[in-house]
């Protein structure tokens, strides 16, 4: 069994492979040839190749500087609207994700018990055969629905979805219910679209409700926010923490968590009572104004002040300022809106607020889809009909949650409860549910109940660590993906270096698995390049020019700006859909749960130098960063007899962790905050393992019945000196 690799050997393996590459002074033939042909590299093999960042879902355009077959620097691509020549810290550090010494570079097959971390290296043949064989076994014994599939937003997701649909499983988990369900579903109800686009061009007034653009970075939008402030735009920031966004705000309002709804209802109240809304717009393009006016009458600033801890005068003033700045005013609808079970209604209130001041067509506009009209795709025969219910309760528990969005935490709970049936296998790609789902113990229990788990990842992340087979994907700098559509262009992700080790693209992996599962007809592309050529075919665009230019123009589709896909075709202040299902059609206040005496709201939120649960092993992102700590208001800490730097025990009803305390002025006295993404369990992550703790150990699973969104701030904790 000399093939068994312990953790140490595994790391050596990773290091050695990267080292070997460092020595090789020739340009790997295939990539180099392509790049040469595309005119990116000179005869020495040095130059810049355009591609697309994958350090987060914003997918900025990048220019990779290549020298001697190694990528040595990533610059932002000036030709891409998301980067405009810039990359954020994570984008800049992307090179270390590719050259991470802990990269998985060959398929791994588990040899120890699950979670022990003992794997042996295997050939693709063997690994794929095993995965296919296990999946077929499960289908045979328990039906296709006994296989669960899950994956997070990425460019090859269309083929992931193709894969699971061809397999015939209804069970699909995405990150979305942990992230933006409240926002998406509220937009669907009000505007009939998932997420209208925001236009910062002439913006004079912005209200951010828990949207921390300075740290939860969306490169171009972060830049637009700062540019707007620089122009003199006023900015209101609702966040219980003094975030780096709050630091730029004209008004930082450390609102009581869970009361954003009250705040926005009061703004609506002010704007309606003082007749500050855009009457012409409201009349022409919205429905339900009168009911809204009647129902929001009690929500005065004084009423809201009591709930939100924001002074009534401030609320009234902001209502007036917001209306006065319209249409160059925007109440941002947030992104990760998974805070409270009432977050959906808070989001609804925000959509209504925007509609009232008539900023449509100015600060908010129709968004082009990511599908990219005009692009082709490989021919696909009809999928097998699926009769089994979905484990995640859509639509039988959650009628409004779009099918492709789902309720991931419910999927996990149904696996444990075996309700309505038992799942037996889990295929995961580009996702780390062990850390991203609330209540980690439950997630591990769900995994433990599986007969078989396969994971596609680039490192031995926690989910991979608990898997039976790990399939190494080539990193985003080493592979092709389906084209990325932004606005009226489609951008190419292309390899800038040859894949290291045996790593392969997801397109290749799914196709290979597909053919082993007898689903070849669903994967009608010869290879990645062929896939993209088929996408290009209807446009008549050339693959070579796409490669050299980095993008291809798409035919414009000029729709009517003032048409909405709602039942009424208008902006629905009062949602007919919600009404027909018996939910509150107009946002009404319901008091969210609050921490008991001695407990704190547990806040989560991104930091600028980490993305979710997958970048913590990237050494560059740790440069001069300390291990993250638990924020607590300095005075509260003092009153509790806690000092900065103390090790504390944080406990919720589902778990407890140890973490060091940061006593800071920058947070409400009744809240504590932890940066997510730390506390990895996988010892295959040399840098990340043992660093910090995970708030997923503490989060209690609460699901909003309308949007299916998880409520992450609804977890209350006690903090004690350890």
């Amino acid at each position: 069994m000399e093939q068994t690799v312990s953790r140490r050997d595994f790391l050596k393996l990773g290091g050695a492979a990267a080292g070997a590459l460092a020595v090789g002074s020739f340009v790997p033939p295939r990539v180099a040839q392509a790049a040469l042909e595309a005119g990116h590299l000179n005869a020495q093999g040095d130059g810049y190749i355009p591609s697309v960042c994958e350090m987060c879902v914003w997918r900025c355009g990048l220019l990779a500087k290549v020298k001697d077959g190694r990528v040595v620097k990533l610059d932002g691509n000036p030709d891409h609207p998301h980067s405009k020549g810039k990359l954020c810290p994570r984008g800049q550090a992307g090179i270390m994700t590719t050259y991470d010494p802990d990269r998985v570079l060959t398929p791994l097959i588990r040899v120890g018990s699950r979670g022990e971390g003992k794997f042996r290296k295997a050939s693709w043949e063997e690994a794929l055969d095993i995965v296919a064989q296990k999946m077929l076994e499960i289908r045979e014994k328990y039906g296709s629905e006994a296989m669960v599939f899950s994956s997070t937003h990425n460019l090859s997701q269309v083929q992931f979805e193709n894969f699971l649909q061809a397999f015939g499983s209804p069970n699909y988990g995405t990150q979305r219910s942990l992230c933006f369900n409240a926002m998406i579903v509220s937009n669907l109800m009000t505007y009939g679209m998932e997420e209208p686009a925001r236009n910062y061009d002439n913006l004079q007034y912005i209200i951010y409700t828990g949207r921390n653009l300075a740290e939860a970075i969306s490169n171009s939008e972060t830049g637009e926010m700062i540019a707007a402030i620089d122009r003199g735009a006023k900015m209101v920031c609702l966040d219980p923490r003094f975030t780096k966004t709050a630091a730029k705000a004209t008004d930082w309002l450390p609102i009581r968590p869970g009361t954003d709804l009250a705040f926005h209802l009061a703004l609506i109240n002010v704007i309606i009572e003082e007749r500050l809304y855009n009457q012409a717009f409201v009349e022409a393009y919205t429905t339900g104004f009168d009911e809204l006016a009647a129902s929001t009458k009690p929500y005065t600033p004084d009423w809201a002040a009591e709930r939100t801890d924001v002074p009534a005068e401030t609320i009234a003033r902001i209502g007036r300022e917001f209306a006065a700045a319209a249409p160059f005013a925007l109440a941002h609808n947030g992104w990760r809106t998974s805070n409270f079970v009432n977050s959906f209604q808070a989001e609804r209130a925000i959509t209504i607020l925007n509609a009232l001041v008539g900023n449509w067509g100015t600060s908010m506009v129709h968004a082009g889809g990511e599908e990219g009209g005009g692009l082709g795709k490989p021919p696909q025969p009809p999928y097998p009909r699926i009769s089994a219910q979905r484990l995640d309760g859509v639509p039988w528990m959650y009628p409004f949650v779009p099918l492709k969005i789902g309720v991931f935490q419910q999927l996990r709970d149904s696996i444990i409860d075996e309700n309505p049936y038992k799942a037996h296998g889990w295929f995961i790609s580009r996702q780390n549910p062990v850390l991203s789902l609330p209540d980690r113990k439950k997630t591990l229990a769900a995994m433990a109940s599986m007969d078989f788990i396969a994971t596609v990842d680039v490192i031995l992340n926690d989910t991979a660590w608990f898997s039976d087979v790990v399939l190494p994907e080539a990193s985003y700098l080493e592979r092709y993906d389906p084209l990325a559509v932004v606005g009226d262009k489609a951008y190419i992700r292309q390899p800038v270096i040859e894949p290291q080790g045996e790593a392969k693209s997801a397109l290749w992996i799914y196709k290979e698995l597909g053919s082993r599962l007898g689903m070849s007809e669903f994967f009608q592309y010869a290879d990645e390049e062929d896939y993209i050529k088929q996408q290009l075919a209807p446009l008549g665009a050339s693959f070579d020019s796409l490669r050299s230019q980095g993008y291809v123009e798409l035919p414009g589709e000029a729709g009517d700006q003032f048409q909405w896909q709602t039942p009424s075709g208008k902006i629905e202040l009062k949602s007919s859909t919600l009404e027909s299902a018996g939910f509150a059609a107009i946002p009404t206040w319901s008091e969210p749960p609050a921490p008991a005496e001695g407990q704190f709201y547990l806040l989560t939120g991104k930091g600028a130098r980490q993305t979710q649960f997958g970048t913590q092993n990237n050494q560059l992102l740790h440069k001069y960063d300390d291990e993250p700590r638990l924020w607590m208001n300095a005075k509260t800490a003092k009153a509790q007899g806690l000092r900065d730097g103390d090790m504390v025990q944080v406990a919720s009803e589902v778990g407890s962790i140890y973490v060091r305390l940061l006593a800071t002025e920058a947070i409400r006295p009744d809240c504590v905050y932890m940066m997510p993404g730390f506390g990895h369990l996988s010892m295959g992550l040399t840098t990340a393992y043992g660093l910090g703790s995970s708030d997923s150990d503490l989060h209690v699973t609460y699901t909003d019945p309308i949007s299916g969104g998880q409520a992450l701030t609804q977890t209350f904790v006690t903090v004690q000196k350890a």
């Binding site: 810039k86 990359l87 090179i95 490169n219 700062i226 003094f242």
Partner: protein, 264 residues
Amino acid sequence: MATIQQHAYLFDATRCIDCRACMIACSVENSVPMNDSYIWVTGSAVMGEYPDLRRATMPYHCMHCLEPDCVSACPVGAWSKREDGPVLYDEDKCIGCRYCMNACPFSVPHFDWDKGLFGGALMHKCTMCVQRLEVGQEPACVQTCPTEALKFGEREALIAEAHSRIAAHPERYIDHVYGELENGGTSYLILSHVPFGELGLPDVGVTPVKNVSEAAMRATIPLALGWGAVLTGVTVGMELNKQRKDKAGKEEPAEVEAAAGGKR
């Protein structure tokens, strides 16, 4: 882009979000090892008391002084000022005395603390990414800054821009462009909404700190020669005196002894 006479940066603290993309970009571009950095983001602490808080940060790196003190201080001339702005280092000359670290009023140069006799310990600091300037690119830190808190260009033009930014928003900025005059003028110009000390910048005067040092140096050679001449004179005088006295067979004069401590 017309060729630039004096390259300079303009940093606007009101735009900086402390993301440190600049720092990581710099480390990658210049292969800076993990335990060092040419940029460090300073001033990042939250100031004030809840809920009246503020914060301000800046990417702190070499100021590329117009009259660099590091250049003046280095015994072996390892530092030099390039005409178009950058202050550069010749690693073949450096003896590792670390005097430049002390001399630099901004405490910029860093040393290889972890390199032994065969590791080749050297000094490190921001190079203004001359390798990028040469091919017409902006420095890595400037180019990547997502909020355009950093700008790069002709020093004169940037100074003018800085003043017009202040003029456009006098309520927003402290009415001063740090680096315009500091230490004789620097190539890193800074606009801020908080006192510059809160950004971690030192309080330096407008004369380069090297001036007094260099003036003292200029005085030294004449002083030394004069002092040598005096001493030689005294020696010769004493000698002659002694010979005279020897002839006269007298004893040593007491006064000279008394003068022993008084002489200098």
